[in-house]
């Protein structure tokens, strides 16, 4: 039995169990998403028909949207559509919601990836530094920085970054998005500022968590064992301690994915990036129910996938194979 297969043997049943949990979870999520219908005050058909529509026009719209059918039937077709990858048609833009979401997906995925990369690139070294030097000035600096970072609304951060680096200094574009196909720098340069605005908060959280867990891991008996074995402190920190210390951080990371996705709503608006967050705000402002529902289902799906990935990482890091 090699180590690789051993790891696989450990992780695979976890994936199975995890997937088994995902099914009821998604069921509840779809139910919640669908129930948004009931929260709407007033008549969605009227809204869709638009300002100044006649009664006949409203009725036509109602039939058109299937809002005249009984609720359970609507839910049935909602589920059926979902099963076939159909999220319905946007009220406002008369376009399949899925198409609209898919078109914007690369944008938000790019933004989130850049933000996460920034979060990791800043968060992990900062957290390690602080955890290693717990109680010293490096630790204090990181702690103060991350605490302030966590308290700063990302839109304020975005605003300041855009004004300063985008407009004042003109170093980076203050708005917009360019697909990766048009060159990686064009792509990245557009995402750096919003990515920073989003990622710094996540970096702060990661640094904080890592600091705390590393500091406590470094107090563990097995670190003392490693020291007594004659291991160098670099090996101890980056190998022995970090693998253990990353466990809670990985969980935090998973949660951050959700926060980042939510954060895109504001950041994309501030940076004029037309991704999913921007789409969500538009859908909300327009009261475009299918779009809102679609957004909810898709983002939750992404979050669930992210947490699945987190669990797998967790499984790798933690041989006990427990889930959080």
């Amino acid at each position: 039995m090699s180590r690789g297969t051993a790891t696989l043997r450990r992780v695979l049943p976890m994936v199975g169990r995890r997937l088994a949990l995902v099914v009821p979870l998604l069921a509840i999520v779809t139910l919640v998403a669908f129930s948004l219908v009931f929260l709407i005050p007033g008549d969605p058909a009227e809204k869709v028909a638009g300002e100044g529509a006649t009664v006949a026009q409203v009725e036509a719209v109602r039939v058109d949207l299937g809002l005249d059918r009984p609720v359970w039937e609507q839910f049935g077709s909602f589920l059926l559509g979902l099963a076939q990858g159909d999220l319905g048609t946007s009220y406002t833009f008369k376009t399949p919601v899925l198409d609209m979401i898919l078109a914007r997906m690369p944008v938000t995925v790019s933004l989130t990836v850049v933000a996460l990369a920034i979060a990791l690139l800043i968060g992990i070294p900062a957290g390690v530094l602080a955890g290693r030097r717990a109680g010293r000035w490096e630790d204090r600096a990181v702690t103060v920085g991350s605490t302030i970072g966590l308290a700063t609304p990302n839109y304020v951060l975005g605003l300041l970054l855009a004004m300063f680096f985008g407009v004042q200094l003109g170093w980076l574009p203050a708005a917009g998005y360019t697909p990766l196909a048009e060159g990686w720098w064009a792509w990245l340069s557009h995402l750096l500022l919003p990515g920073l605005a989003l990622g710094l908060v996540a970096a702060a959280e990661i640094a904080r968590q890592l600091r705390a867990s590393l500091a406590s891991v470094l107090q563990q008996d097995y670190v003392r064992t490693a020291l007594a074995k004659g291991m160098s402190s670099r090996t101890i920190v980056w190998k022995h301690a970090l693998k253990n210390a990353l466990m809670p951080v990985v969980t935090v990371f998973g949660i951050q994915v959700g926060y980042l996705l939510g954060g895109t709503a504001v950041i994309e608006t501030v940076f004029g990036i037309q991704g999913l967050g921007d789409f969500a705000v538009r859908a909300v402002l327009a009261g475009d129910l299918p779009a809102i529902q679609g957004m909810v289902v898709v983002t939750v799906g992404v979050t669930v996938l992210a947490s699945l990935a987190v669990d797998l990482t967790y499984g790798y890091l933690n041989p006990r194979g427990e889930m959080q």
């Binding site: 007033g42 009227e46 809204k47 028909a49 638009g50 300002e51 100044g52 529509a53 006649t54 006949a56 026009q57 036509a60 946007s90 406002t92 833009f93 008369k94 376009t95 609209m100 078109a103 914007r104 855009a162 004004m163 985008g166 407009v167 003109g170 980076l172 574009p173 203050a174 708005a175 917009g176 608006t269 501030v270 940076f271 004029g272 037309q274 921007d278 789409f279 705000v281 538009r282 909300v284 402002l285 327009a286 009261g287 475009d288």
Partner: protein, 487 residues
């Protein structure tokens, strides 16, 4: 024609203009769309029978010319020759008839504007004759709006795909889109009006946030951005960019629902007209960019405001007297809906403050644009503080809000003598004379206190210096005719 026409030699005909607009397209079907703001994009892909110059006067579009019969019972359009749709089918009288008939169907957004038409006949290949059942001078400019957009009749069969895929004769064709946020357009080859098209294409992005637009213009993401009054000053500070804006027909109004609160009494409505200091609103909400309303039309428009000068002015004492007269010396309380857009919120806040001076308490409820109008028309709120977009012909405005048959007329009430006065005005072709007649309609409306005009907006575009040929229009919608980008 554009005044500072671009020097052809300097213009880069392979350039693409990136423009930040404020709204996307809800439907590419001009007859079935429900949103006035769709016009911005639709006019790029559809030509209309009649076009407008920057001052809002009718100029030939797909129709080379038009004329009324002497007795005002017939309007005849002569079509431009040799134009074909994308599938090769020609632009002929039958096609135009099919379009107008479709625009008159009850579920069309323009149907109420076209009630004057009794029948449409295709006389020959190039001649379309409209039989009218009432005077129809206003129809000419109505055909420069959504109603005049000509769609390939072949597309009517599949209305659903028309909603997302335009099929017209405009300057541009849609090559790709992210509905609601981005539209990529390519210039039509051999477009009939060479002077109007100097670009290889346009990219229209829909931005939610005006602030972002200025940042983006500054850091070079757009060539042009739409600017609203409050953004004009800031936009002027963007280096290497210039703002071209003018006072347009688009206005902010206070529109009471006469069936609610105390607004059934015309004295109360007139009192509100007198209670408001429009100059203050202009300063606070629009940074002074625009005009304080003296009527339903801006100062230099052909409809004179003098006849209503005493109705639309700031006179709190007179307002209080009127209220006392109506038995409301102690004031009253009501709720106004407004759009959750900073300019409107500020307007509402200022008005709330001013009404308090005459003892009237106004509560504000700000709603997103998608909800506000619908909710107001359903009967929520007692009044709305909203924007009325500029319409090519004054008749369209009057008919929309004061004709008791209009769905936009929230009170379903019509001032006495309104219909007659409007019909009279629509029988006059001469602009100055017609202006006088329309002023009479305006007097009837404001005497009744049907609306409280507040301010006119300065609207236009901020473009970077490479953009030439842009002129703001009085209607307030940028058509980008003749705009180019220098090499």
């Amino acid at each position: 024609a554009p005044t500072d026409a671009a020097d052809d030699a300097a213009v880069d005909t392979s350039a693409v203009l990136r423009y930040a607009a404020s709204a996307g397209v809800t439907s590419f079907d001009p007859h079935k769309t429900r949103s006035q703001s769709d016009f911005v994009l639709l006019n790029l892909v559809y030509d209309r029978l009649v076009h407008q110059d920057v001052d809002g006067r009718a100029v030939p579009g797909l129709a080379e010319s038009w004329e009324f019969s002497d007795d005002m019972t017939k309007l005849t359009f002569t079509l431009r020759e040799g134009l074909t749709f994308g599938d090769g089918s020609p632009l002929d009288a039958e096609a135009v008839k099919a379009n107008i008939d479709r625009a008159r169907e009850p579920d069309s957004v323009s149907s109420t504007q076209l009630l004057a038409i009794a029948e449409v006949t295709a006389v020959d290949e190039r001649t379309v004759e409209l039989t009218l059942n009432e005077p129809g001078v206003h129809l000419v400019l109505i055909f420069s709006d959504l109603a005049g957009m000509i769609v390939n009749p072949a597309a009517f069969a599949d209305a659903e795909s028309l909603a997302t895929q335009p099929d017209g004769l405009g300057r541009f064709t849609l090559t790709s889109q992210e509905p609601g946020s981005k539209y990529v357009l390519a210039a039509t080859e051999d477009y009939w009006d060479e002077d109007a098209l100097k670009l290889a294409g346009m990219e229209v992005s829909v931005q939610l946030d005006p602030q972002t637009n200025i940042n983006a213009l500054g850091s070079g993401q757009f060539e042009c951005i739409l600017v609203s009054p409050a953004m004009i000053e800031p936009a002027k500070q963007v280096p290497d960019a210039q703002v071209k804006a003018r006072t347009v027909l688009t206005q902010t109004v206070f529109y009471p629902n006469q069936t609610k609160s105390e607004f059934g009494d015309p004295r109360v409505r007139r009192a509100l007209n007198l209670a408001i200091d429009r100059e203050a609103v202009l300063q606070a909400a629009q940074e002074g960019m625009g005009e304080a309303a003296k009527g339903l039309f801006p100062e230099d428009y052909y409809v004179p405001n003098e006849p209503v000068a005493d109705l639309v002015t700031h006179d709190p004492d007179a307002a209080r007297a009127l209220l006392a007269d109506a038995g409301l010396a102690d004031g009253f309380e009501f709720t106004a809906l407004t759009l959750s857009i900073p300019q409107f919120v500020t307007t509402a806040e200022v008005i709330k403050d001013q009404l308090a001076e005459v003892g009237v308490t106004m509560n504000i409820k700000a709603l997103p644009p998608a909800d506000m109008g619908v909710n107001f028309l359903r009967g929520e709120g007692d009044a709305s503080i909203t924007g009325w977009t500029g319409r090519p012909d004054p008749t369209m405005l009057f008919a929309a809000y004061f004709d008791d048959a209009s769905p936009l007329n929230v009170s379903k009430a019509e001032p006495a003598g309104f219909a007659e006065a409007l019909e009279a005005a629509n029988a006059i072709e001469d602009e100055a004379e017609r202006g006088e007649a329309l002023a009479e309609v305006q007097r009837i409306v404001l005497e009744d206190g049907g609306v409280v005009p507040l301010t006119f907006n300065d609207v236009g575009t901020a473009c970077n210096n490479s953009v030439v040929g842009y002129e703001p229009t009085v209607v307030g919608i940028s058509e980008f005719r003749g705009v180019g980008i220098t090499k």
